[in-house]
């Protein structure tokens, strides 16, 4: 069946089964590869995108749920060539190692700052605990978030 949805401001109509996870629609039907497949069961966060502004795990969200709604992916996080301030902070703090989880990490972090511009350490920990990183870049990414939150780093 045909499903219509808006991704990063562009309308797309795709012909897939209802139960197809949104992840594969974003990656293979629309061709945006920045959103990653990690576990298929909402356990690792590599596939995090926004559905109407709220982060979801696209690997476990049927495309039918997103029909008629607005999806934002890592490709939509920046405004053209101007990077999101968190992307810039990620570069300055040298966060990515293999980099595979980082789209999901950034989407989660950007959502945190969107509703809580000055998060406490506990807020950051709570927000980021759902995104796995096998390379162990956690302390660098937390430092990058803090730098944007305008909060002095704590020992």
């Amino acid at each position: 069946m045909a499903v219509t949805l808006t991704i990063n401001g562009q309308r797309h109509s795709v012909d897939v089964e209802d139960d197809t996870p949104l992840l594969w629609v974003i990656r293979d039907e629309v061709g945006l590869k920045g959103t990653k497949f990690g576990c298929g069961r909402a356990l690792c966060g590599a596939c995090t995108v926004y559905l109407d502004g709220s982060p979801i795990r696209s690997c476990s969200t049927p495309v039918s749920v997103a029909a008629g709604q607005s999806v934002t992916t890592i490709e939509g996080l920046s405004a053209g060539d101007t990077l999101h301030k968190l992307q810039q902070a990620w570069i300055e703090h040298g966060v990515p190692q293999c980099g595979y989880c980082q789209s999901g990490q950034l989407m989660t972090a950007a959502h945190l700052l969107s509703y809580n511009p000055t998060p406490s350490d506990a807020d950051i920990d709570a927000a980021m605990s759902g995104n796995l990183c096998r390379c162990g870049t956690y302390s660098n990414l937390v430092a990058a978030i803090k730098s944007v939150a305008g909060k002095a780093e704590e020992a």
Binding site: C39, T73, I91, G94, P96, C98, L132
Partner: protein, 735 residues
């Protein structure tokens, strides 16, 4: 090195008119590899290309999987070529003899060897290009080359006014030659080496633009998924694909060597169709072990066979016989999965008698062999393109994912992307072997007089050689692959390096003890195993450094002082131990409810000591702080060194707290991150890293952070609870 130009460097004009430099890395390695490199003919693959437009391309022969080669190796070229590292565009290397790792005679990235083997040759390549460009400029200006300087991609005239850009000089430089290897910059002249700078691949990785294997897209591509036998080694007896074939988008369902493959126009359709395929497995050759039976098998093997003697100092029998006290302990460690965040995958297309493969692989030349083995193609008819890797940790040294994609693409004659599920990835990994360690120490007059270590478990090369041996001899006919694999095992140490995977980190026991004996009882229960970040060091580090801690406590000594006294002859070990103790506040009082543990381990040439502070809170082990001192010789990028040590610490803690793959009747029980968890952000400790300044040649950094943290954490828990845990993973048991 005493090489003439013909040996180390080839200069030629690029098809586009630019300058191409090819380099014989294999022959230039200063590392003794134990065999003679056959002379290789030059191919037109360049290490370094400078175009008329001044673009600089560097062929990166070591893959980027997070460990930082993309930045680190490029920095070596940039330093000598006098350009910003960011001005150089790395390209992932194709398969060619020139790109082999000289230590392994294979084009693989592993063993924390990339920087050590590239350190000199890549600087020579950069310096050679610079020298040729200067000679060309000097000829244009008719001035002595010695008077010209180089700055930010331009050669400057001695008059201080005129300059020529590299791009303007490349055509002339290609006609120049060098009589000798050029001099390299001295450390005080370095602008990039040793300085903390960002990574070159970061922007691509924060925008989603970096292309991993799973992102490769070909026109008219179809998707494949495979069901594999629950029990390793089972084969397909029969299968029923009737229902699957009737499903929308399904193109084909067929048996391949390792299972049954479904091909469909979309990934999700393939995945759903696979659920409808019923397979009868032939379990005649299937693995039947359970994790408990593996340890029983090891214990039995240990009693039956004292093992091959791998180190023999002094007289251990005499030391044990004369001892006031003999202390013994056994340690058991489980199978571990790699759990790279990017699941195994590969994309392949077969057309016009050739196969092209795109894959996140640590060993593209082995990938070529794997594709050839399952098709009628020869390795020469297979091209392997490497992408960014979403983690490696040794998993992608084995090419089973390429094998499967090649077999499917060869049959369906369309571009195919084959993707493993996380469950496939966890259950059909090749694992860090489960190991049994039995240790015995003799004590006389309050001093440690003897150390006996028996390691029980498999060797990894026995499993790896199937594709590795043919890859070393790619001209060998395919009919000989099996023979080469057997010869590879038999000729270990002659044709191939000695397999030290079981004993590394044990035979190099650093403490000064009169009698030291290390033995390996070779016991292989048939579970597929491979390299896993830090390999043998991962289990030997735990056994050695836990037993050292036990001995210190038995002798009533401080664990730090005990080690220190026995390392007076090992200055580099001693230095990191002392610095870690300092950084880890070893002498300071500890907060209520916390324990502190220390450990030291040298691996891949790098010395790492760590002090861990831990507690048990709400029934969970909490690691608060890890202080690390590291000596990896000359540092090229201190940020990457710190990050790799921290990365290793997180990897090691994950193994120590959660790492366990369980076999029951030959089948792996874990499947995804709920039952094979990784450490999460809120569980991270504070990690502090102190780097010893050193002018010694650079050594490995991707792996050495892992081994000491596991025993240091166990030792901290002992300090906290008074209970010694000798099995991994560690349990949260309070005193």
């Amino acid at each position: 090195m005493g090489m003439n130009r013909r040996d180390f460097l080839k200069v030629s004009a690029a098809g586009s008119g630019g300058l191409l430099l090819s380099l014989n890395l294999a022959g230039c390695s200063g590392i003794n590899k134990g065999y003679q490199e056959a002379s290789v003919s030059w191919r037109p693959d360049a290490w370094l290309e400078i175009t008329l437009e001044g673009e600089i391309f560097f062929t990166l022969a070591r893959v980027e999987m997070g460990q930082g080669t993309y930045t680190g190796l490029t920095t070596l070229i940039a330093e000598e070529l006098e350009v910003e590292p960011a001005a150089i565009q790395p390209r992932f290397a194709p398969v060619a003899n020139e790109y082999r790792n000289p230590l392994f005679k294979l084009q693989l990235t592993g063993g924390s060897t990339s920087l050590a083997t590239s350190w000199r040759p890549l600087r020579v390549a950069g310096a050679s290009a610079k020298a040729l460009l200067v000679k060309a400029a000097a000829r244009v200006w008719q001035v002595p080359a010695e008077g010209c300087r180089v700055q930010e991609g331009r050669v400057l005239h001695p008059n201080g006014r005129d300059s020529l850009a590299y791009g303007q000089l490349v055509e002339l430089a290609a006609a120049e030659s060098l009589a000798d290897e050029p001099a390299l910059k001295s450390p005080d002249q370095w602008r990039y080496i040793g300085k903390g700078r960002g990574r070159l691949d970061t922007r691509a990785k924060v925008t989603g633009a970096a292309e991993y294997g799973i992102d490769v897209e070909l026109p008219d591509m179809v998707y494949s998924v495979v069901t594999r036998p629950p029990r390793y080694g089972a084969t397909v007896a029969d299968f029923d694909a009737g229902e699957a074939l009737a499903m929308s988008g399904v193109i084909d369902v067929f048996a391949i060597e390792r299972g049954v493959a479904v091909v469909a126009d979309k990934y999700w359709r393939a995945r759903k169709a696979l659920e409808k395929v019923t397979v009868q497995w032939d379990n005649a050759e299937a693995l039947a072990v359970s994790s408990d039976s593996v340890m029983d098998f090891y214990r039995h093997a240990a009693e039956e066979d004292e093992g091959a003697k791998e180190r023999d100092d002094g007289d251990i029998s005499q030391a044990l016989a004369a001892a006031d006290q003999v202390i013994e302990a056994s340690y058991e460690q489980p199978y571990l999965a790699h759990a790279t965040l990017e699941p195994m995958n590969a994309t392949a297309v077969y057309r016009d008698g050739r196969m092209e493969v795109w894959a996140p692989t640590q060993a593209p030349d082995l990938g070529r062999i794997a594709a050839a083995r399952v098709t009628d193609l020869s390795p020469d008819e297979v091209t392997v393109h490497t992408t960014f890797l979403g983690g490696g940790f040794g998993r992608r040294l084995t090419q089973d994912f390429i094998e499967e994609a090649a077999a499917v693409a060869y049959r369906v004659r369309k571009p195919v992307k084959l993707i493993w599920s996380r469950e496939d990835d966890t259950r059909h990994d090749l694992y860090r072997p489960a190991m049994l360690h039995r240790l015995k120490a003799s004590v006389s007059g309050g001093q440690l007089t003897g150390w006996h270590h028996q390691i029980v478990g498999p060797q990894i090369m026995d499993w790896y050689v199937r594709n590795a041996a043919p890859a070393q001899y790619p001209w060998a006919p395919k009919a000989l692959y099996g023979t080469l694999a057997r010869v590879g095992v038999a000729a270990e140490g002659v044709l191939t390096p000695k397999d030290v995977s079981a004993i590394e980190g044990a035979v190099d026991y650093p403490y000064q003890v009169d009698s030291v004996e290390v033995r390996h009882t070779h016991a292989d229960p048939g579970v597929p195993v491979t390299w896993w970040r830090s390999v043998g060091h991962s289990h030997n580090g735990f056994a050695v450094e836990t037993f050292m801690d036990e001995l210190a406590h038995q002798l009533g000594k401080d664990p730090y002082q005990f080690r220190r006294e026995l390392l007076q002859h090992e200055p580099r070990h001693l230095a990191v131990l002392e610095r870690a103790a300092q950084l880890g506040n070893w002498f300071e009082p500890l907060a209520e409810g916390r324990g502190r543990g220390i450990a030291l381990h040298r691996s891949f040439g790098t010395y790492v000591a760590q002090v861990v502070e831990a507690s048990i809170e709400a029934g969970e082990i909490r690691v608060h702080r890890v202080a690390c001192a590291v000596d990896c010789g000359q540092v090229v990028n201190p940020d990457i060194v710190r990050d790799q040590v921290e990365s290793g610490v997180i990897f090691g803690i994950t193994a120590a707290l959660y790492g366990k793959i369980t076999f029951e009747d030959g089948a792996v029980q874990e499947s995804n991150f709920h039952d094979y968890p990784l450490l999460r952000a809120h569980q991270r400790p504070e990690v502090v890293v102190d780097i010893v300044e050193s002018a010694a040649a650079p050594t490995g950094i991707g792996e050495p952070g892992v081994p000491p943290v596991i025993p240091a954490l166990g030792n901290a828990l002992f300090a906290l609870t008074g209970e010694r845990q000798r099995h991994l993973p560690l349990a949260a048991r309070s005193a």
